[in-house]
Symmetry: none
Subunit: 202 residues, 4 copies
Amino acid sequence: MPEETHTEEESTSTRRQDLVRAAFNRIADAGFEGLRTRDVAADAGVNVATLHYYFPTKEALIRGVVGHAMMRFSQSMPREGSAAEQLRWHLSFLRRLLKEDTQLFAVLAELTLRAPRDPVIAGILQNTDEPWHRKVAALLRSALEQGCIDAGIDPEDGAAFIIAAIKGLSLPGNPEIHDRRVDQTFDQLERWLGLAPERPSM
Amino acid sequence: MPEETHTEEESTSTRRQDLVRAAFNRIADAGFEGLRTRDVAADAGVNVATLHYYFPTKEALIRGVVGHAMMRFSQSMPREGSAAEQLRWHLSFLRRLLKEDTQLFAVLAELTLRAPRDPVIAGILQNTDEPWHRKVAALLRSALEQGCIDAGIDPEDGAAFIIAAIKGLSLPGNPEIHDRRVDQTFDQLERWLGLAPERPSM
Amino acid sequence: MPEETHTEEESTSTRRQDLVRAAFNRIADAGFEGLRTRDVAADAGVNVATLHYYFPTKEALIRGVVGHAMMRFSQSMPREGSAAEQLRWHLSFLRRLLKEDTQLFAVLAELTLRAPRDPVIAGILQNTDEPWHRKVAALLRSALEQGCIDAGIDPEDGAAFIIAAIKGLSLPGNPEIHDRRVDQTFDQLERWLGLAPERPSM
Amino acid sequence: MPEETHTEEESTSTRRQDLVRAAFNRIADAGFEGLRTRDVAADAGVNVATLHYYFPTKEALIRGVVGHAMMRFSQSMPREGSAAEQLRWHLSFLRRLLKEDTQLFAVLAELTLRAPRDPVIAGILQNTDEPWHRKVAALLRSALEQGCIDAGIDPEDGAAFIIAAIKGLSLPGNPEIHDRRVDQTFDQLERWLGLAPERPSM
DNA sequence: AATGAATGAGAGTTCATTCAT
DNA sequence: AATGAATGAACTCTCATTCAT
């Protein structure tokens, strides 16, 4: 097994990356239902047997995809700035991502539906969801204390509401309508939060 | 072939119903990925060949499930009363459904993910989604005009927001947390709408 | 079993006839390979179960077809006249039949190929072939004695030759060419026999 | 996929050959009607899946058999010598083949009956039949010009006659009688042609 | 590190046949 | 005499996985 050939993690062999990316794309396009190891291998330009050299089983490959997807998604998490800034950045980042990276959300949705039957995925998803909720709730609480958002908002409930809406938008739909719905939702969401637009320092 | 010989719709033979229900449950539990005609037949207490007697192909069976699911979901649509009443009823109905009928939403989510690859499903889903959005938007507009909900709400955007949140909640999640998230979201949603509780007649 | 309801054999119920005819046509068009009891029943305008009421098994139905085909073919057998006349009539009848009743020969060919695996068919075919050969040989012998055909012909060998050629023409082929081949073969055959054209009485 | 990677044709992998041969034998014995991929695979000593590794579909396997059969049959075509010699060789080769290689003719007959429903087979068969007819007609014409055969023979008609007879003999029949009929037919045929036996050089 | 070849265990579908009505 | 409903057995084809090289 070619695990640990490099000291730097991350740089898992290109082959592994290629296979994971290929599987990721296949899942985005055809769902788990349409995921075939042979196709993935072909897309990555190798033999199926080679795929099984890197991923002993299909499940292992899928777990690779989970990691890939979670990593991509976690880039939407805000890291610095005031609560209001972080909130604003987080929301605008997701608004853009939802419109541009349909594939990512298709895969995330597939993973979500699979979670009830796959404890590994369930665990990973939970480890993303919970911190996300806590983060958003914390940001709301701070923003509230700093008077940046409307007083009628409960941090916990508001976080649940926001995340639910984002998840709802992550589901695939008529592409002609999808982008509009994203904008409508985010427009309403931002208006509701009343995030005072950029009232910096002073 | 027992295909629609009755004028009274609905009265499709019990066998058909049983098979559709069995398939529905299988999809709810195992996804399309795990849907096996043999299992469905067994659940319905018949031979696989009998399944194919009623549904010439697996796809036909799936379309049967789509109809079943849509019918069940469409029962959440409000039909009478003032805009505020209808909104309140719709939301409270969905709040309960989301907590009690997990299976229905599991199937709806599976269908949603399948839609991009299945034009028939896509069409049916669109024919549910669009009217739903229009209905909610219309209710919001009426309620707005009657001063029943907060003025900062845009009917179109608000409808998109609400529906997105409900869809987000329809995704499966850790059952221990799910119900809480539903309540949090709906609590916040109702607080946000400011649906004045029952200001009747006058 | 509806056998013997009539005293006159022959007039087996119309249903039986219809079914046999339908099966005959199906075999002619799709071969044994493509023979489906359901299709036959449908062609005859009845339910499959009804077919099995008249013919307990598919094999029984096929035997019905065999009888039908043999009867039709046996009509090409000459019955009266001088040897030369009978020969001439037999050949001209078959020449026409080969061009007009392709279905009959398609079925006969199918039966011939099936014979090695179906003793019943083998028996029936043998009971047609042997008399046919004997008849033609006898006619040739008579014609020979009467000086009506060329002296270089051996009755037995000639009969084998003639029958082989007719069987060869019974195989399906490019329809654009088939008729020409039939005529070429029969022209040559008649020229070879030198059947003096109608040298009656005197 | 092991499809034709070699420049030297012919050297298709042994497995392919084995499978084709097994299918050939099955068809000879049981007809297309009785051709089962599992049996073929078993005869070749491999799993069904292996069969599908070499032949993506049953039809593909059948086409393999067609090629095999045509190749075997085409070996009966004469290649060198005078017209009379070629004719004599061709006829004696076929006479022997008809008695010894019953399987080949069983398969050819099956293919012939299948042709009307399978354009691929129809094409291949036509491409064998037409040249065969032309070849025999050409040989007859030459032999005629050289005075080697009887003057009453028309090249075209004679070719049709000869080929029809050979095809007729290719049909299966009671094995106890079959060989006799072959000999009778060929004896008569050769006597008819009057192929002067071996009048060499001078 | 990579592959061609092979496979077991199923998948959906078909079909002759049966049986209660 | 006729049928709708039901079935067992079988069929072609698929797929993740293995293994010798």
